[in-house]
């Protein structure tokens, strides 16, 4: 094989590679256009799974004496669902969304204020000797 042949082959390969790269870029652009704007499910799901593990280790370290306040405070923080209720109420969605969103805001507000307040009341009672 002469050096000239090699050079010709290399040039050919380089050309093929550039065509492939162009194709890939085109495919990527199409995918990017069609992809949903929200974060892909797999990312959210990874966060979810990791959070379950964090929850597992954090909750095992809670002293049994404080299991009642734990329940009250987890109830209060799960009311962060108010974020969804607020978006439903406050954005230009539909009347149904406004109404259901509003009722959801009222319900979880009971929980947020009630949950943190009752937790606080309980914790204030735990005293040292």
């Amino acid at each position: 094989m002469t050096p000239a042949d090699l050079a010709a082959q290399a040039a050919d390969l380089a050309h093929q590679a550039s065509v492939l790269a162009q194709n890939a870029a085109g495919v990527a652009a199409v995918v990017a256009q069609n992809a949903p704007p929200a974060a892909p499910f797999v990312y959210l799901f990874s966060i979810f799974v990791l959070a379950v593990f964090v929850g597992y280790y954090v909750v095992w370290s809670v002293t049994p004496a404080l299991h009642s306040p734990l329940m009250a405070v987890t109830n209060a923080i799960s009311s962060v669902i108010i974020v969804g209720a607020m978006l439903a109420t406050g954005l230009h969605g539909s009347m149904v969304a406004h109404v259901f969103g509003f009722f959801a805001v009222v319900l979880v507000s009971v929980n947020i204020f009630g949950g943190f307040a009752v937790t606080n009341r309980m914790l204030a009672m735990f005293k040292k000797k």
């Binding site: 004496a65 987890t74 149904v96 009222v106 979880v108």
Partner: protein, 469 residues
């Protein structure tokens, strides 16, 4: 506000929620933890107000909603009696469940608000997440309502069972699953959505009615877990990080508490959920037959006072009966008087004492019993052998030696407080009825046991008076 800044705010909120739970690892750090939780909530709410496209007129409506709900919550939290804590928590869980149903409904009607598509053209993924959030939310709502009704005694605590119950529940579960598939395939049919909600409400109701009163610690923990999973489901629907993380935290927290409660009774979660335990009612008949020919020694408040005064170590074992008769304050007075006489006083708490995890600890704390005097089962079980007197107030099954000795007993294998090792056992009970599990307690008939018949609070007050003389 910039999209990534909002996301960052939600991340901060999620971290603060983790710190809130972390703070509960010790009473001294717990109040700080609660403040972290509140801060996280404020950040999440403020970030949402600054979300692009928020209509300021409707934002005022949101503020109004928060004011209405918030004031109700604050009043209830201040007024509630600590003995009624389990039903309060059950009621709170139901609200989270219902809110999840409402948010899912809004998301179906105005998907553009959540960036999940346009009406009738919602992303398939979002439809799946939405219907799962809806179903878990609805089960949480109706299940918690039943738990509330049972705890508040609006409904009898005895299990309601009927033939084919489990088949019916399984059938409804499968029907919900099929409806979810049909709902997603239909691209978001409102009718199917409503059907899923109705069936899930029914399922929540049917799941809790067969579970008896004393299994409520498991039920309340389980519903706690469900409310977390529901929040996570909604979090996936609207792609919100704070909701997903918080839902996962709450979900696993509730699951761990359910596990601890089941372990405290040596029963599997399946066994508890299947229900029907403790069917024998108040067990009056059982007591009448098995106590034949056996004599119990019973004494008066004066006798009890005399025995306690001459003891050097007294361990108090409180149970649900103490909560029912609100005896915690009288109990603390008793402890104070004994301590003045130089008697060592400790409190031993079984994992499933009361109607929710940690219920007894809160009641004792309410009566200003220092938490250093209160011990869990593993910490104190060796000490019963060195105790002169054990004062069992409103507890029964958790002290029953049959759990160790009698393989036929329904409570066999359940970890118990070894009160039988103490020199003298004082049992405060209203009568000779058996415990929740419907089994006789052989401790009542032992020579070193003295029964004190009467109301827990009244008896404790009488002992306090006798000690004062």
């Amino acid at each position: 506000m910039n999209q990534s800044l909002t996301s960052f705010a939600y991340l901060v909120a999620a971290v603060l929620f983790i710190l809130a739970l972390r703070g509960l690892s010790h009473p001294t750090t717990s109040r700080q933890g609660n403040r972290f939780g509140m801060a996280g909530m404020v950040i999440a709410i403020l970030a949402t107000f600054l979300h692009g496209g928020m209509d300021w007129g409707w934002a005022l409506v949101i503020v109004l909603g928060v004011a209405i709900g918030g004031s109700i919550g604050l009043v209830v939290a201040q007024k509630i009696k600590m003995t009624a804590l389990p039903q309060l928590v059950a009621a709170f869980h139901s609200l989270v469940g219902l809110a999840a149903v409402f948010v899912a409904t809004s998301a179906l009607n105005a998907p553009q608000s959540f960036g999940i598509g346009t009406p009738h053209h919602i992303h398939t993924e979002s439809l799946i997440e939405m219907s799962i959030g809806l179903a878990i939310g609805a089960v949480t709502f109706s299940g918690s309502l039943i738990a509330f009704a049972k705890l508040q005694a609006l409904m009898k605590g005895t299990p309601i069972t009927f033939r084919g119950q489990h088949q019916l529940n399984a059938g409804i579960g499968i029907a919900i699953l099929l409806l979810v598939i049909a709902f997603v395939a239909s691209g978001g049919s409102m009718v199917l959505f409503a059907l899923i909600a109705v069936l899930a409400f029914a399922l929540g109701f049917l799941l809790i009615i067969p579970i008896g009163g004393a299994d409520m610690p498991v039920v309340v923990s389980m519903l706690n877990s469900y409310s977390g999973w529901a929040a996570s489901g909604i979090g996936f629907t609207i792609g919100n990080l704070a909701l997903i993380v918080t839902g996962a935290l709450v979900g696993s927290s509730g699951a761990i508490l359910s596990y601890i409660m089941c372990k405290g009774m040596n029963r599997s979660i399946i066994n508890v959920i299947a229900g029907g335990f403790g069917n024998s009612g108040d067990g009056a008949a059982a007591a009448a037959t098995s106590s034949e020919g056996k004599a119990v020694k019973h004494g008066s408040a004066d006798d009890a006072a005399f025995i306690m005064k001459n003891a050097s170590k007294v361990i108090v074992v409180p149970g649900y009966g103490m909560a029912v008769s609100q005896a915690q304050h009288a109990l603390r007075e008793l402890g104070d008087l004994l301590k003045e006489d130089g008697v060592e006083v400790k409190y031993a708490i079984h994992p499933v004492a009361g109607r929710m995890p940690g219920h007894m600890n809160v009641l004792l704390a309410e009566a200003s019993v220092p938490y250093d005097d209160v011990f869990e089962l593993e910490q104190i079980n060796n000490e019963f052998a060195t105790a002169d007197v054990v004062y069992v107030i409103g507890a029964n099954d958790v002290t029953n030696p049959a759990a160790k000795t009698n393989p036929q007993s329904p409570i066999f294998g359940m970890p118990i407080l070894d009160v039988d090792k103490a020199k003298t056992v004082l049992f405060v009970k209203r009568g000779m009825s058996s415990g929740y599990a419907g089994v006789d307690n052989e401790l009542f008939f032992r020579d070193n046991t003295m029964m004190l018949f009467g109301d827990a609070k009244k008896m404790t007050e009488e002992i306090v008076q006798a000690l004062g003389r």
